[in-house]
């Protein structure tokens, strides 16, 4: 049960993320625990009687720098929701509402110019940082410049469309965005100018990398030194080897409950260093309230039976897949790739992940309940259908024979954690059975993801996963499979398959353009593109995972945001 620490989109470089705003198409949350979807709960009234106490969170290890412009891990993005704010924010609520962007430090959603290149905001007055200084438009300008000065992981992919950004990417030290981010201290107005329309800009302004920091924040990674916050909590201390301690921000006053609600616990202690087993036991004994890491496989049954009331299972908009190197034998042959797709028993992969309650087989790149998703399975036993019914080993063997690649050596690169290693061993068995000499190459999770991206490492087939950055089909198809996202020889080449089809790229651009005016029609185009990509089979989707949050018995008001997962600040501990 891997929950990725790194939710990397394109770490650097030009990913053609000219996209479309997508907010529809998501279905209500399905909760195997039977609990009611928690949509909109944070937007309700603050319940004073539950205020107070210390929320105790646990994780096997810390997630590195606590700089919101640098950190790119799910572990801290979840915490940043209660500490930092941007001009915009995803609604702090459970269910579908969490995909909705609302004004945060901005008074309202931006006014967009008719050419789609200018976004005008007005900064709220009276919001203060935790050090007591008021947030000004100068802080906003400095924050955008800081994205480039600290070389934020998404600087080149999310914010490269701002006027002046290309120069900033080339020379961060002398970054000048005076034409891209125009501020007026007298009117508190901020205008963001783009070189081309970007309908997804609002999503990008609602993630932590676009958080507003004081203009005095360091122009390098702040690391473990906390930057003053605007949210309900500030950092009291941070030692990555021991703990992160958050306390109430004395200067916080709730300005928008959907964007940044007041938190319930007085303090949040996030401790590191114990094993996941030990952490789970602590939660069972109510010595702690929640564990970041997924529970070990052999504790799942116990949690699902003895502690069912404390387990919260939520589907994720993500997928696990096999990336096949389309520039390297044997997977430079489409029939070999198709053979893998039809040979893999997705129900076996689901079992190895933790069972049907924790994952669901998929054949498409776009996950269920995601914009553009249309159920379709080209690689299944029998005739192609809407859903996956089973593997067809005989057909796979035939395809391998037809491809002329039978007997070739294939290395499967996987992470060395329990679930990935088990899946790797299973895949080795499958590939061997269809005629390859397969071996598993387990690598430390810290390096596997960058290793498989770099084409110099010649990874033939690798097991990996992708979790959405924001709810748009382009965040999967365009990011993972466009020609521009393949950067040979780079550790930041998220198109791991090295797949490039100019025709499909052109169609994606058309879908992006259409999305500016007709999102529903664009989603239909994305669904068609998904099918076209799968016909080329640059990857083999395995399953879409679910997330299990295991909380102590004293925790109340659990809410699951589809965007940033459990809302930490909204938990009751008394």
């Amino acid at each position: 049960m891997k929950r990725p620490n790194i939710r990397v989109a394109a770490l650097t470089g030009a990913l053609a993320v000219v996209v479309t705003a997508c907010s529809g198409g998501t279905a209500p949350e399905a909760s195997p625990s039977g609990e009611a979807p928690s949509a909109g709960a944070a937007s309700g009234e603050f319940q004073e009687q539950h205020k107070g106490g210390t929320l105790k969170l646990l994780a096997k290890s810390a997630a590195g720098s606590f700089d919101p412009k640098v950190n790119y891990t799910l572990q801290y993005w979840q915490i940043f929701q209660a500490t930092y704010d941007g001009l915009l924010a995803f609604t702090k609520a459970g269910g579908d509402a969490s995909f909705t962007v609302v004004p945060d430090l901005a008074e309202a959603l931006p006014e967009v110019s008719t050419d789609g290149k200018s976004f005008t905001f007005t900064l709220r007055k009276g919001v203060k940082f935790s050090d007591g200084k008021e947030v000004t438009v100068d802080d906003v300008y400095a924050s955008f410049v800081r994205i480039f000065k600290v070389s934020s992981p998404t600087a080149g992919s999310f914010y490269n469309g701002i006027v002046g950004a290309e120069a900033c990417l080339a020379k961060p030290d002398t970054c000048d965005l005076s034409k891209g981010v125009v501020v007026d201290g007298a009117t508190n107005e901020i205008v963001i100018n783009l070189v081309a329309p970007d309908p997804e800009l609002q999503f990008k302004l609602a993630v932590p990398h676009a958080a507003i920091n004081p203009a005095t924040a360091p122009t390098e990674d702040a690391g473990t030194t906390p930057i003053p916050t605007t949210g309900p909590y500030m950092v009291a201390s941070y030692d990555p080897n021991r703990a992160l301690k958050l306390v109430r921000n004395p200067n916080f006053t709730e300005w928008s409950r959907p964007a940044q609600p007041q938190g319930y616990p007085d303090a949040i202690d996030y401790s590191f260093g114990q094993t996941v087993e030990a952490n789970i036991t602590q939660v069972q004994n109510d010595q702690a309230d929640w564990v970041f890491d997924p529970p070990p496989a052999d504790r799942l049954n116990e949690i699902g039976t003895k502690y069912a009331d404390q387990a919260h299972v939520n589907p994720l908009t993500a997928f696990w897949y096999l990336a096949m190197n389309t520039n390297l034998a044997p997977f430079d042959n489409v029939k070999a790739r198709q053979a893998v797709n039809i040979a893999v028993d997705r129900s076996a992969a689901v079992k190895l992940y933790g069972g049907e309650q924790l994952a669901q087989p998929v054949c498409t790149i776009l996950p269920p309940n995601f914009p553009g998703h249309d159920p379709d399975c080209q690689y299944t036993a029998g005739a192609p259908s809407k859903t996956w019914t089973g593997p067809d080993l005989e057909k796979a063997k035939q395809l391998v024979q037809e491809s002329g690649t039978a007997g070739q050596a294939v290395g499967i690169v996987v992470s060395d954690d329990e679930v990935n290693a088990a899946l790797g061993e299973y895949l080795q068995s499958v590939l061997t059975s269809i005629g390859y000499k397969a071996t598993v190459k387990p690598l430390s999770g810290n390096i596997q993801f960058t290793y498989i991206q770099n084409s110099n490492n010649k990874a033939q087939i690798s097991l990996t996963s992708w979790y959405q950055d924001y709810p748009a089909a382009s965040d999967f198809l365009n990011v993972l499979l466009s020609c521009t996202s393949f950067r040979p020889g780079s550790d930041s080449s998220i198109n791991i398959s090295g797949f490039c089809d100019k025709g499909l790229d052109t169609k994606m651009q058309a879908a992006l353009t259409l999305g500016q005016t007709d999102q529903a029609a664009a989603d239909v185009q994305w669904a068609a593109l998904d099918k076209e990509f799968m016909a080329q089979a640059p990857l083999a989707p395995l399953f879409t995972p679910k997330l299990i949050d295991f909380t102590s018995s004293r925790v109340g008001n659990y809410q699951f945001s589809k965007q940033f997962y459990m809302l930490v600040s909204q938990l009751w501990v008394q």
């Binding site: 049954n301 299973y426 061997t432």
Partner: protein, 351 residues
């Protein structure tokens, strides 16, 4: 260190005595007799042989008894328990239905005697196959280690001077590293670089000979140093001086006079090093840098079982027990061999 009888003189006396009376059994036969009378050592040998035979019979068990392929995943497979067909990996059907648990021990040899691992493979079949690999690596590494150590120890001790200085420093360098740290480092490097090449001989990353080579090399100083010391002492003996005096070549002296005298020490080292090599292999495989999947060893099976410690401890306990029993048997037998070849060591221990 074993201080065996001075072979040059003893062997010649033995031959002379044999001619004279025909009754003297000789030092080797005496030692064997002594070993045979050591009940503990004989029981340990019997236990080791039982394990060895069981492991050698692994294909027989997998094919004829269990009817399973222990190297192929069987995630969606089924088996029969109490006349009912059940999935090998069973999804939880209680509570929230979270998790999938492999079938536990059925105590039915033809249907997952010790249960299944997380890939749905028969643990008993894998245990036997794993034992073959563990024992093969243990025995091979011990023999290779002793061979290398004997060559280095004899050369260093006999020639002394520059040869000794160079070889001893090389041994010191190897010795300077904590043994497991060195083994893990070498394994990681060689596994990620695709194997090792020694002249025309290439050992692939997934080959069983890679852990054999690594384990043999890291333990060489532990055997070579005592042997070198023994050779240094032997060099001062009269029979060596006599051999030099009659014009015997260095090679001849090493082969005919030195080597026979250090062999008892090597023989004592063999079972002990086998146990040590087996334990090291298990540790490396447990850390995923020893035997590579789909091959199995007792260490890899323990690793497989780690994630099932709560629900299916048998997957871990069975290979753990096998390692403990085999290592204990080899150590007890090794002690017996030492006592037989060097009665003074036993007296020293008793004193």
């Amino acid at each position: 260190m074993v201080t065996a009888p001075v072979a040059g003189s003893v062997q010649s006396l033995d031959r002379a005595d044999g001619r004279r009376s025909g009754a003297s059994p000789g030092p080797w036969r005496t030692s064997l007799g002594q070993l045979a009378r050591n009940r503990g050592a004989m029981l340990a040998l019997l236990l080791f042989l039982l394990v060895l035979v069981a492991c050698l019979a692994a294909p027989l068990y997998a094919d004829r008894v269990a009817g399973t392929d222990p190297f192929t995943s069987n995630v969606n497979g089924t088996t029969v328990v109490d006349g009912r067909e059940v999935p090998v990996l069973e999804a939880s059907s209680t509570g929230l239905g979270l998790g999938v648990t492999p079938i536990g021990p059925t105590w039915d040899p033809s249907h997952y005697l010790l249960g299944a691992d997380n890939q749905g493979r028969d643990v008993m079949a894998r245990l036997l196959y794993g034992g073959r690999n563990s024992l093969l690596i243990g025995l091979s590494a011990a023999m290779l280690c002793c061979l290398l150590a004997t060559v280095i120890g004899v050369l260093a001790g006999y020639f002394g001077g520059v040869v000794d200085a160079v070889l001893s420093r090389v041994l010191d360098v190897v010795w300077a590293f904590p043994v497991y740290l060195l083994a893990i480092s070498l394994s990681v490097v060689l596994l990620t670089s695709g194997g090792a090449a020694i002249g025309p001989v290439r050992v692939e990353a997934g080959s069983l000979w890679l852990p054999v080579l690594i384990i043999a090399v890291i333990y060489v100083p532990y055997v070579a140093r005592p042997l070198r010391g023994q050779v240094l002492a032997l060099k001062e003996k009269e029979f060596i001086a006599a051999a030099v005096g009659v014009g015997a070549s260095d090679l001849s002296i090493m082969r005919r006079d030195v080597l026979p005298n250090v062999l008892p020490t090597v023989v004592v080292f063999l079972p002990l090093m086998t146990a040590l090599a087996m334990l090291t292999e298990s540790a490396l495989s447990f850390l995923s840098v020893g035997v590579q999947p789909p091959q199995a060893s007792w260490g890899t099976i323990i690793n497989d079982g780690l994630g099932l410690l709560y629900t299916r401890p048998a997957v871990t306990i069975a290979p753990g027990l096998a390692i403990a029993l085999t290592a204990a048997a080899l150590n007890v037998f090794g002690d017996g061999v030492r006592d037989a070849l060097d009665p003074r060591a036993r007296l020293r221990g008793a004193g």
